[in-house]
């Protein structure tokens, strides 16, 4: 019970610190168990310092910094027991282009490492350009969804002229 929880905490914390640096291109972050001596009753606090900034609790970071830090945490938990499938629904929405590029770079590294297959819902043009293939979902008949294959170069050209 408790030992397993603490062991999991240590592992996740280690991955979290590394993934944060990968996604932010620097900086430093760690997790803390707070509010209780009993790890099974404690709260999980997140302390983060984006590159060049002082260490702060998650709530004091910018919107995009919070999202990228939470993403690091989710992937840290993932890395303790990598799944064969990972599905991400619009996690890139609050990120700027540089952070999106590092995010997609991380996904490529995970694919190489764990062979996990990714399904990534996005509205972001940079993310789309980094995918191995694209599927479009359309509703040409109202209220009825259809799946179509989308040509990657076509999608890039559409983005450039819009």
């Amino acid at each position: 019970g408790r030992e397993r929880m603490l062991a999991a905490f240590e592992t996740v914390n280690k991955h979290f610190g590394e993934l944060f640096v990968t996604l932010f291109g620097g900086g430093n972050a760690y997790l803390e168990l707070v509010d209780s001596d009993d790890p099974l009753d404690a709260g999980l606090e997140i302390m983060a310092s984006p590159p060049g900034k002082k260490l702060q609790s998650l709530s004091l970071l910018s919107g995009g910094e919070q999202a990228l830090t939470a993403t690091s945490l989710i992937f840290a938990v993932f890395m303790t027991n990598p799944a064969p499938i990972c599905v991400l629904d619009e996690v890139d929405a609050p990120l700027d282009d540089a952070n999106v590029e590092r995010f997609c770079g991380l996904l490529d590294n995970i694919v190489a490492q764990t062979k996990t297959r990714f399904l990534i819902v996005t509205h972001n043009a940079v993310t789309m350009s980094r995918m191995d293939r694209l599927f479009g979902v359309t509703m040409s008949e109202r209220g009825v969804s259809q799946l179509v294959s989308v040509d990657l170069q076509m999608a890039e050209q559409l983005q450039a002229v819009s």
Binding site: D35, L44, P82, C86, L134, V137, S145
Partner: protein, 168 residues
């Protein structure tokens, strides 16, 4: 275990039979607001045994069945099938004699869900265990729904710790 394909029929806005090939690497899913992208992702969690209607954005389990439009009547049946590659033969013994695992869930209005693995009727628990053994499943931390990141950010520290417990 490797996820190869998902087939949907009558599931939310995917009323017509639809098949998605899941290949290696990064597959992007794009389209306008409200066209069904999140529905597609929810189908994966649902077939793996998700049993909370709230996490499927509904009030009851029947809410995943196609509810109809002005031109099409509602359906009474929704079915999702996952085709899994089991050539590593790591599945539970009773399903481990085949390279292909076909897991399907079917719900009929007001009669609940029925699960099958390779054509055999099984319980929800069997499906949940199959996926849990393969480090996945409806509650896998790798299934990040729309808004999950925001709720993790605004969660109370004690609720955030629950995320860790899924890793333990």
């Amino acid at each position: 275990m490797q996820f190869d394909r998902i087939r949907l029929s009558g599931f939310k806005s995917f009323v017509d039979p639809t098949e998605l090939h899941i290949e290696g690497g990064l597959t992007g899913v794009v389209g306008p607001n409200g066209c069904g992208k999140s529905n597609l992702l929810e189908a994966i969690r649902w077939v793996m045994g998700e049993n909370s209607p709230k996490s499927m954005r509904g009030s009851g389990m029947d809410d995943v069945i196609f509810a109809g439009t002005d031109r099409r009547p509602a359906r009474n049946l929704a079915e999702v099938t996952l085709m899994l590659n089991n050539s590593a033969r790591k599945a539970p013994a009773e399903f481990n004699d085949s390279d292909l695992l076909e897991v399907s869930r079917r719900i009929e209005r007001e009669s609940g869900s029925a699960y099958r693995i390779n054509g055999r009727d099984v319980r929800a628990k069997d499906v949940q265990l199959l996926f849990a053994d393969a480090a996945t499943g409806a509650h896998s931390p790798a299934l990040v729904s729309q808004g999950r990141i925001s709720s993790l950010i605004s969660a109370k520290p004690k609720d955030r710790r629950l995320l860790l417990e899924e890793a333990a």
